[in-house]
Point group: C2
Chain length 102, copies 2
């Protein structure tokens, strides 16, 4: 039985999370340094560059629902889901503004 | 600039959605038939087989937050996020029960 594209996407997100969360401290959570590395290497195009530290700080605060100073997998998935929806909105907008595509 | 694994996962989810939503009716939403096809081809391992129609029916009802009988991209991402978190919980459980892995 092969993996579908959706299975692979899910598997990749799990792998990415542990690639960073496993570096130090709690292996199942991203601390601030791990989070910064993850954002810079995986989602650099969403960091607008103005002040990366402040951005990382804000994202951590927003995601860390249980306020333990670390981001667990469920909190990480919320970030990726939100970014994916934002990407999709951008994509749909472009499609709808392009009359030749129909 | 190359795509990171996270970028690819996000891109794959968007592609998968439109592969099914574009088949008929509103091209930006999954109707019940498109949803059934998507679930069977992409997430078959999560359909326990007992009664696929009932499962599809339930998933549609749960996801369709704005009650228009169709599932849009944002509602689809909620499903994939929930399944990914479930997969991850299973994965973490297995890891923690496996003393040799440390």
């Amino acid at each position: 039985i092969g993996l579908s594209d959706t299975d692979e996407a899910m598997e990749n997100l799990i792998k990415v999370f542990y690639r960073y969360s496993g570096k130090e401290g709690d292996k199942y959570k991203l601390n601030k340094k791990e989070m910064r590395n993850m954002l810079q290497e995986e989602l650099a195009e969403f960091l607008t560059g103005s002040n990366d530290s402040a951005v990382v700080e804000n994202i951590m605060r927003d995601l860390d629902e249980n306020k333990d100073g670390e981001v667990d997998f469920q909190e990480f998935v919320v970030l990726v889901a939100a970014l994916t929806v934002a990407c999709n909105d951008f994509f749909v907008d472009s499609m709808k503004r392009c009359p030749t595509s129909e």
